[in-house]
Amino acid sequence: MRTISRGFAVVAATALALGAAACSPPSSSSGTATSSGAVNAATATTADAFGGMDALVKAAQKEGTLNVIALPPDWANYGAVIGAFGKKYNIKVVSAQPDASSQAEINAAKQLKGQPTAPDVFDVSQAIANSNTALFAPYKVATWAEVPDNLKDPAGTWANDYGGYMSVGYDAKAVPAVTSLADLMKPAFKGKVALNGDPTAAGAAFAGVMMASLANGGSADNIAPGVDYFVKLKKAGNFLPVDPDPATIEQGQTPVVLDWDYLNVAQAKKLAGKRDWKTVVPAGAVYGGYYVQAINKGAPHPAAARLWQEFLYSDAGQNLWLAGGARPVRADAMVKAGTIDATAYSALPKAEGTPVILTQAQQTAAASYLAANWAKQMG
């Protein structure tokens, strides 16, 4: 799920997955989709199919285990989410390869197909979800109607879970206060502005260019002004072509980083006392990105997988993500209903304007524009 760990993560994940497959003995509790005899959990598309939430909980407890993959404990508060779920329902959560990438989750599901160690649920990036819906089992949680329509698949194979807005993180001691992307052109930012990777390959860097486009007259259908912005930034000598990570930020090599707001906020917490790390969502350039939640079609614990979804989209689950600095997908509905954790919600970086979220077609069009122009213009 993490966008940062690429490359070796995939290789390692593949090796691990193969190793795990070879070592694990066949488990008797696995693969029995019709555990209660009456309900086929693997094809249930709502809790009603089990006969209500209580029956779903019972079916899940009978399975006793839930396999999750690529959920770092310090990412969007997943450590607490996993703990709370296990405690509430008395189900053992087996967390495999916490630092793996989205693609590695899909690879693991394919390689471990039919094994009791296969992942039950996925938390993947939107692009990976779009190209793998055939692997997902359709399921609609009780709060499905409160997930905004543009953030879910009408067929129910996936729904966005939590996300954030693109932001500018900066060390307030090293550079002047940032209020807009235009500020970053000033001489005070010479050699200091880093993008999180190459936008033709890394999702967060792609989002950075899209944000710059929105701030400079572009739109969801037009990423070109974003490329122009970075060309100008490079000409001014302000663009720093270093891949930022916690080490470079702590060391002061990357004083300004364009990244998701929840990552910048988490960075600030980690560096408290060392760096004065601030996070700003530029006004009028609010670009949103959400992760995707889905159930593995071949989940070895189909009822537990569905209960996990119900938990994640409940008020409790959504508030846990919020406590980790991520924006839960039901936030608007929960604000209206007054069930949101108000303190955590008001602590999120302020964003002015409606967030722009790309459709799959817009994403593909922007990606091919970058493929043709980014390296050429930035070279």
């Binding site: 966008t3 690429r6 490359g7 995939v10 990438s101 989205s102 693609q103 990036s125 692009a127 990976i128 190209s131 050699g191 200091k192 880093a194 993008l195 990777g197 190459d198 936008p199 033709t200 390959a201 890394a202 999702g203 792609f206 000598g237 663009f239 720093l240 072509p241 270093v242 891949d243 080490a247 470079t248 060391q251 002061g252 090599q253 004083p255 990606a367 091919s368 970058l370 493929a371 980014w374 390296a375 050429k376 930035m378 070279g379």
Partner: protein, 290 residues
């Protein structure tokens, strides 16, 4: 009777082969199978239908430029590494064989030749990056050594690669220098030859194949290097290994995994040519080192 004889015959035939089995398995799983995956994948599209598209895409300017850059960076760092490494190796070879200098230099080279990846890249960023130790020091003196960010482009790769090429050259070239017998020099001098004559007519011709062979090895070493470049360069993926990484692991442009494989196939071809040259030179060198 017949069964025992044939059994024994089998055993004697298979006996020597059994020892090679682990190596054979290793080669099959870590060389043959991956190579086949690369070759087959190069000719398939995203839905596994046969295509030549991945291979013809290698001619696109952006990929062709990456190959040219990869070859230039590898060539330049191999030459720099070979020249400076050979000089250092000569200094070591002529020193006391049991002395501290030789032991320290060979030990240091053994470590530095393997020093790469994130650590090496970060070391250079922290030294000559924008906020680097030297950059800041020189900036205070009014000198700008950072420029427009050369460290994160081709010149940076050349500098950083040369850093591990020189020690590697020392390690691989030292045995050839040790093979130069002092008697040859004495013989040359006895016959009235000058130092120049000795180097031009005796040592030079003997060392030339080994020197060229080591240079080719250095070329292949730089050509296939990935981790250091990955850690140092975050924009543009200027060289082929980084382009392959983008194609296989990229999150933005999907369905081009097999283009990555065809680029890898291109690298296999380049390295195969280099290795063939290396093997030919090696044959000529071996004659003198017996």
């Amino acid at each position: 009777m017949t069964t025992t004889t044939s059994g024994r015959r089998w055993r004697t035939r298979l006996g020597p082969l059994a020892g090679v089995l682990p190596f054979a398995l290793l080669v099959i799983f870590f060389l043959v199978v991956p190579t086949l995956v690369v070759v087959v994948g190069s000719f398939l599209d995203a839905s596994n239908a046969p295509t030549l598209g991945n291979v013809t895409a290698l001619g696109e300017s952006i990929i062709r430029d990456a190959y040219v850059r990869s070859v230039v960076i590898s060539g330049v760092t191999a030459l720099l590494g070979a020249i400076f490494g050979a000089l250092l190796a000569y200094a070591v070879a002529t020193a006391n064989p049991n002395g501290a200098l030789r032991r320290v230099v060979t030990a240091a080279c053994g470590v530095l030749a393997q020093f790469g990846g994130v650590m090496l890249a970060f070391a250079f960023i922290a030294t000559v990056g924008f906020q680097g130790l030297l950059t800041v020091l020189f900036r205070d003196l009014g000198l700008d050594i950072y420029g427009s960010g050369w460290l994160f482009d081709t010149p940076g790769l050349i500098l950083v690669y040369t850093y591990f090429q020189i020690p590697l050259m020392v390690i691989v070239f030292l045995p050839a220098l040790d093979g130069l017998r002092p008697q040859w020099r004495e013989a040359a001098e006895t016959l009235g030859g000058s130092a120049w004559d000795y180097w031009r007519r005796v040592a030079g011709p003997i060392l030339r194949p080994s020197f060229l062979g080591c240079t080719l090895l250095l070329f292949a070493n730089a050509f296939s290097a990935y981790a250091t470049a990955k850690a140092l360069i975050s924009q543009g993926s200027p060289i082929v290994p980084l382009k392959i990484d983008d194609a296989i692991n990229g999150e933005v442009i999907q369905g081009v995994q097999n283009l990555g494989k065809s680029m890898a196939l291109g690298m296999v071809v380049v390295v195969a040519v280099v290795m063939w040259l290396y093997a030919r030179l090696q044959k000529r060198t071996a004659k003198w080192l017996r």
